[in-house]
Every structure is written in C-alpha cells, then in structure tokens.
C-alpha cells in the first residue's frame, strides 16, 4: 500500500514520514530507485533554464524568427490575430483621433471608390436618359435664344445650369488661421483672413449649439445663390464659395484636394505655428478647384444626338408648313377658279377634320366641279361636293345650252350676242327651220339671227341638184338658137326644178342661175352679148315650160371663167353653151 504511491509520486514521501532517521533512509532508497529519473529531471531543468533568453536576444532574432515562421505556415498569423484585434480596438478606444488621423488619407479614397462603383451603373442610366431627352426646358431656352438673338450657349449660361467656384480657402482647423486662398480671376479679393476666421467661428458656433454626433460639423450653408461648402480634415478645412447649382462631384473633388493637401503638407502641418508661407505651394492645388462650369454632360449630349434630332424636327416642320401653306394656297386658288367657272356658283366651302365640303349651284351644262378641281391639282378624294341644279345666265352657258338643245351640224356655228343667238356657216334647210322655231325657247335666248348662213339642200335632194348642174345646152358658133337636143335638156331641167321646189318646202325657194358662155372667137363685147343672148334664150324656153321667171337668173359670162377641156376645139365646143346652178333662197322672197 505504501510502496505504490511512493514509487509513482516521489514528493508525497516526506509528508508522510515525520521521522528524520527514516527520512534519510528513505532518501537513500529514493536515490537508489529513482536516480536515472532524477538525473533526467535535473537535465531537463538545466535546459529549461538555458532556454530563458533575454529580451535583448529575442529582439535581435525576432524579425527573422517571424519571417521564418510566416514562411512555414500561417499559424503565427492565427496566433497573433486575436491579440492584434484586441490591441487595435483598445487603441481605438483610448485615442480614436490618432487612428483617424493615421488612416484618414487612405480611408476617404477607399470609401469613395466603393460608393462610386456602386452608383456608377445607376448614374450611367440616368445620364443616358437625360442626354437623349429633348427636355421642355431645353426647348424653351432654344426659343428664347431664337427670339432674343443671343447664342444658345449664353442662354444656357444665364440659366441655372452653371455653377462657379469663386473662392477656395485652406484653413487651419484649430485656430481658423488662413493657410492659403485662391479667388476666381475677375473677382475682387476679399478679407480672406477675417472670413477664414469667421468661417471657423461659425462652424464652432454651430457645433456648440447643436452638438452634432461624432465629427459631423457644418458642411454646407447657403446665402442667396451662393453656397459655401466646407470639407473638414484633421488639420485643415477646405471651404469653397460656389455660385449656382453645384454637382455632388464638386464635394468629392474638394475631399480629394483636402486629402492631397494633408498628404503633401504633413510636415508643415505638424510644425505649424502661425506661418502660412509653406502653404503657398498649395495654391495651384486649390486653383484646380476654381471652375466655371456649364453642365457639360448635358450640353455635350445636346451637341450630338439631339442636335441631329432637332435638325430633323426643324426640317420636318418646315416641309410640313410649306406643304400645308401650298395646299391651302392651291385650295383657295382652286376655289376662286371654281367660282369663276361659268354655270357654277360656290355657296360655301368648309374645312372639316380631314375633308373639304363645298356646296353650291351647278348648271346642267356647266363643267363638272370635281373635274375642274382635279384639273387644278386638288385631290378630289378629300373633297365632298353638294350641288343643286340651276339655270345660269352666263353667255357661255347659254350658248352651250342652245348648242345642246339645237344640236347644230358641224358646218354651223352658234354664238351669243347679248341675248341673241347668232348662227353662221351653213346648215341644212330642215335644221334651219327647226332652229328658227326652237331657239327662242332656250333659256337665256331672246332672239335668233342668221348671219352669213348658207342653207343647203337635204341629202335626198342633192342628186337632183347635181343633175341640174351637170346639164349643158350646146350652141353652134355665133348662134343663140336653142337646138332640138337642147330643148330636150331644158325639159329635163324644168322637170327637175319642179321636183326640187316641191322638195325644199314652202319656206324655201329654188333659183336657177342660167349661165351663158362663148368660145374665144370674136371680140369680148360681142362674145358677152352672145352669151347673154344664149342665157336669155334658155330662160325663155324654161318659162315656156312653166318655170316662173323669179326662179331664173340669166347671166352671160362671155369668155370669162371658161370650162376647161383637153383640146382647143373641145374647149371651144364646151364653152359655146349654157349651164345651170341651183341656189336656195328664203321662201319669203318668192313672188307669185
């Protein structure tokens, strides 16, 4: 029972053995039993003591040791992780300002980058829709530019699309002392150092009054159309005085500038004791923030796509206007022409939504109104006509109406002189009879007059007249005696005359020209007398045959107007003759 615990636990032995003699024995026994193990323990203890390196030794080899270990695996990083995290959060808790100062130059860009990338997609979409839209505002400006004669660019400048950074202050954060200042070229330099102090005081005042959380502070304030943007950094403020509507990008630019200044002037900031000279070098950086900007994204957008679109719209409007005006003009011209057209009276012409409506009066013999309009280039499909018949008194219409009713032959021509219908040319006797009766009944015609109107025989009677014209009485040279054969011929002529006289009816008379001729032998005077005698001889025979004297017109031509023939002898024979011509005359001249 005693041995077992002793052999396993050497240190328990003295506690359980109070007797010194026994203790010595026990120690000897222990040395005997456990000496190899005791040696091992002593050796281990020595090595452990030897391991106790000093801090100096550790410091010398620590970087290499860390590098070596880090090269082997990541256990060191894992082991250090929690410690570092704790140390960092402890440090932040104790002195947040120091950490904030240290990471300030890196933090801003990192955050902005993340935000920019997140928003970029959205912004692109918005920009595109802005660029492609022809806004009402743009249209108004264009009209204003057009009316005032001021270039469009200046109109845009005049309106709110412009912003201008007029002044930029670099201000020491703690004292409010002015470090550097730039002003737009054409502006008077203000009391920059006093303004700088007041800006700081105002920020202090606002900060004290409203106790904003963390490092909020006053960032923007506006007076009229002037806005002051304040970017605060650990060592300095950047204040920009902006006139007009500034884009959010301007704030970002100010941030970047302030960070740049913090980086570049870290030394001067640390040594600052009121001397602003080292910060003169910041002026070019500040000057980059001065800008007079027309919102270029919009105007540039207008210069491309919308400008082309505007051109199209303009051309379309011009073409449309021109078409509308010329259509209107053509229409009114056509209406005038229609109103001037004989036999047509336009009572009203209205523009419907898509069609024209015309109402008026139309003479049946007038031209068709639609045909008139079509002839003037009007699309008659878009016109609706509403015409009532009437009788026009226009002379051309009356003439046309008369022509339609009387239907004259092609050889006769009708015209109107006042209210008298005049006919000239030639016409068959039956048509003349009908025209005389019907003409006064044509509306607008009061009288009928024949001027140089030659009546001619009806077709049925014409062969008989030709037959008479072909008859010829031949005489012996120098003689006016009617021969036996001539007598027979005269009987035929008398018969044919009688037939004709009956044929032309009571209103007309048939007259025979009895024409005597001679051959060329003898004097002209003798021949003329001889031809008279020959004609007279024929007349006497015809009268004896029952042809009334008023119907016979003897005429001696002598050798004038000879009848042609193939030979001289034949011509002489042919001209020793009497021939006949049938003439029609008015029946009224007939004497009983």
């Amino acid at each position: 029972m005693n041995d077992t615990p002793d052999s396993t636990d050497g240190e328990a032995a003295p506690v359980t053995t109070p007797d010194p003699a026994t203790a010595e024995d026990f120690a000897a026994l222990r040395a005997l039993l456990l000496s190899p193990e005791q040696h091992e323990i002593a050796e281990l203890r020595r090595r452990l003591d030897a391991l106790g390196v000093t801090a100096e030794e550790l410091a010398a080899s620590l970087p290499e040791a860390i590098a070596l270990r880090a090269g082997q695996d990541d256990r060191l990083a894992r082991a250090l992780g929690p410690t570092l995290e704790t140390a960092f959060s402890e440090s932040v808790r104790r002195n947040p300002q120091q950490i904030a100062d240290a990471i300030y130059p890196a933090l801003g860009p990192a955050i902005r980058k993340a935000i920019t990338e997140a928003i970029a997609g959205l912004v692109t979409t918005i920009n595109r829709s802005l660029e492609s839209s022809l806004s009402i505002r743009g249209l108004k400006w264009r009209i204003e530019a057009w009316r005032s004669g001021v270039p469009y660019g200046q109109i845009v400048m005049k309106h709110a699309l412009v912003y201008r950074v007029e002044q930029v202050y670099l201000i020491e954060a703690e004292s409010g002392l002015l470090l550097s200042h730039v002003t737009a070229p054409d502006l008077a330099a203000p009391d920059a150092d006093v303004i700088s102090g007041m800006l700081t005081a105002i920020r202090d005042f606002v900060g004290d009054s409203f106790e904003p959380r963390a490092d909020g502070g006053l960032r923007t304030f506006s007076v009229g159309d002037v806005t002051v943007l304040v970017e605060a950094g650990p060592r300095a403020l950047l204040a920009a005085v902006v006139r007009g509507q500034h884009p959010p990008a301007l704030l970002e630019k100010l941030q970047v500038t302030l960070e740049l200044i913090h980086l570049r002037f870290a030394g001067p900031f640390a040594r600052f004791d009121g001397d602003s000279a080292p910060f003169d070098a910041a002026r070019p950086v500040l000057a980059e923030c001065l800008e007079t900007v027309v919102d270029t994204t919009r105007t540039r957008a207008r210069t491309l796509v919308p400008r082309v679109a505007w051109l199209f719209v303009f051309v379309a409007v011009v073409v449309g206007l021109y078409a509308a005006i010329s259509a209107q003009r053509r229409w009114h011209g056509a209406l005038r022409a229609l109103a001037g057209e004989p036999g047509i009276v336009v009572l009203s012409a209205d523009r419907g939504l898509r069609r024209w409506r015309i109402a008026g009066l139309q003479d049946p013999v007038a031209r068709q109104p639609m045909a008139v309009l079509a002839g003037l280039g009007i699309d008659t499909a878009s016109v609706r006509g509403d015409w009532s018949p009437y009788l026009a008194a226009d002379p051309p219409i009356v003439a046309r109406r008369a022509a339609r009713i009387l239907d004259p032959p092609t050889t006769a021509r009708l015209s109107l002189a006042g209210d008298t219908l005049v006919v000239t040319g030639s016409a068959p006797t039956d048509w003349i009879d009908r025209a005389r009766a019907d003409a006064p009944r044509v509306a607008g015609v009061a009288a009928f007059r024949e001027v140089d109107l030659t009546p001619h025989l009806l077709a049925a009677l014409r062969p008989m007249a030709e037959s008479i014209g072909a008859q010829r009485l031949f005489f012996s040279p120098g003689s006016a005696t009617v021969s036996a054969s001539a007598l027979r011929t005269l009987r035929d002529v008398a018969t044919e005359w009688r037939s004709l006289s009956v044929g032309v009816g009571p209103r007309w008379s048939v007259t025979l020209d009895v024409i005597g001729r001679t051959d060329t032998t003898g004097s002209l005077e003798v021949n003329r007398m001889l031809s008279d005698e020959r004609a007279q001889a024929a007349v006497e025979v015809l009268v004896s045959l029952g042809v009334p004297g008023w119907a016979l017109a003897p005429r001696g031509l002598g050798t004038r107007d000879p009848v042609p023939a193939a030979t001289v002898d034949e011509q002489a024979r042919q001209n020793r003759s009497v021939s006949f011509a049938v003439r029609l005359g008015p029946g009224g001249v007939r004497t009983p």
Binding site: S175, D208, G274
Partner: protein, 166 residues
C-alpha cells in the same frame, strides 16, 4: 506671412470690442453694443522687422465665466484678458476666467488689460489688487479704449511675446 490668433476674453461690458476698435481702426464710441458670439478683426503689426498678422477674436462677454464658449479659444496663440478697472467683480473674476481659458489653449502668452483707466474718479484697482494680479504670469497694462492709452503697447507686447515663444 506669420499669423497669430488672439482671443479677447472678459466678462460683459469690460471694453473688449472697444479695445479692438481702438487698436484696429483708431476709433471709439461711447455707445455700448453687446457682441453676440464672436467678432473677428485683423491688424498687421511688425515684430523685429517682421510682418505679423494678428487675427483678433473678440469673444462675446457673458455674465458669468462658466458659459464662455471655449471652442472659440482653440488654436489661440495669445490671450488678452480684459477687466474693467471701475468694476470690482470684473477684476476678481479674471482669475477664474483665466483658469478656464488655460484649460482650452494651454500655456500661451497672456496680457491683462485693466481698461477704462481714463475714468480715474471711478478707478477701484488698489496696490493690493496689483500685487494680487502680479502673482499670475501675465503682463498687465492699464488701458483706455477711449483715449488709446496703453492699447498699442498691450497688443504690441503680446505680438512680440507670441512670435518669440511659438
């Protein structure tokens, strides 16, 4: 250009604004206008041939010292305490005021202006007071914003002290 922020501190109606007005514009008005918040003015001076721009923060004088706005004091390179030599409480309160200011700006050159020295018949500052005031490491000037006595000297002394102890 060297610039120094100087704060004018004191209870109400001790003549802080009048001192600045006298120093910057060489003008004085009997009319009392209470300053609200802070007024800032600029005065270029010369220290040893060097131009120094003094930015004078004229702080609103309050009734007591507790509610002074210490944020306006940040970054000050020098302080001018103003007490009214005709009002005892202003002279006694200046010590308390100084403690508050020191807490905000640390050790910077200081001037004590015992103002309204022109009102000799109402003057209450005794030699015992002066001994008391001399305990504090500031430079004391008897000033009159009305006549200009001691004004230039007080500001000039402070400017010199500020340039020499950055």
């Amino acid at each position: 250009m060297i610039q120094k922020k100087v704060c004018m501190v004191g209870v109400y109606a001790t003549g802080k604004t009048s001192l600045v007005r006298q120093f910057v514009h060489a003008k004085f008005s009997d009319k009392y206008l209470s300053t609200v918040g802070v007024k800032i003015d600029r005065k270029p001076v010369q220290v040893g041939g060097q131009d120094v721009n003094l930015l004078l923060w004229d702080l609103e004088g309050r009734d007591g010292v507790q509610d002074i706005q210490t944020s306006y004091l940040r970054g000050a390179a020098g302080v001018i305490y103003v007490a009214d030599g005709t009002r005892r409480e202003t002279v006694t309160q200046v010590f308390e005021l100084r403690e508050l200011v020191q807490g905000a700006v640390g050790a910077v050159p200081e001037v004590l202006a015992l103002n309204k020295v022109d009102l000799a018949d109402q003057w209450i500052v005794t030699s015992a007071d002066r001994a008391n005031l001399a305990q504090v490491p500031w430079h004391t000037f008897d000033t009159s914003a009305k006549t200009g006595d001691g004004v230039e000297a007080a500001f000039q002394w402070l400017a010199t002290a500020m340039v020499k102890s950055p």
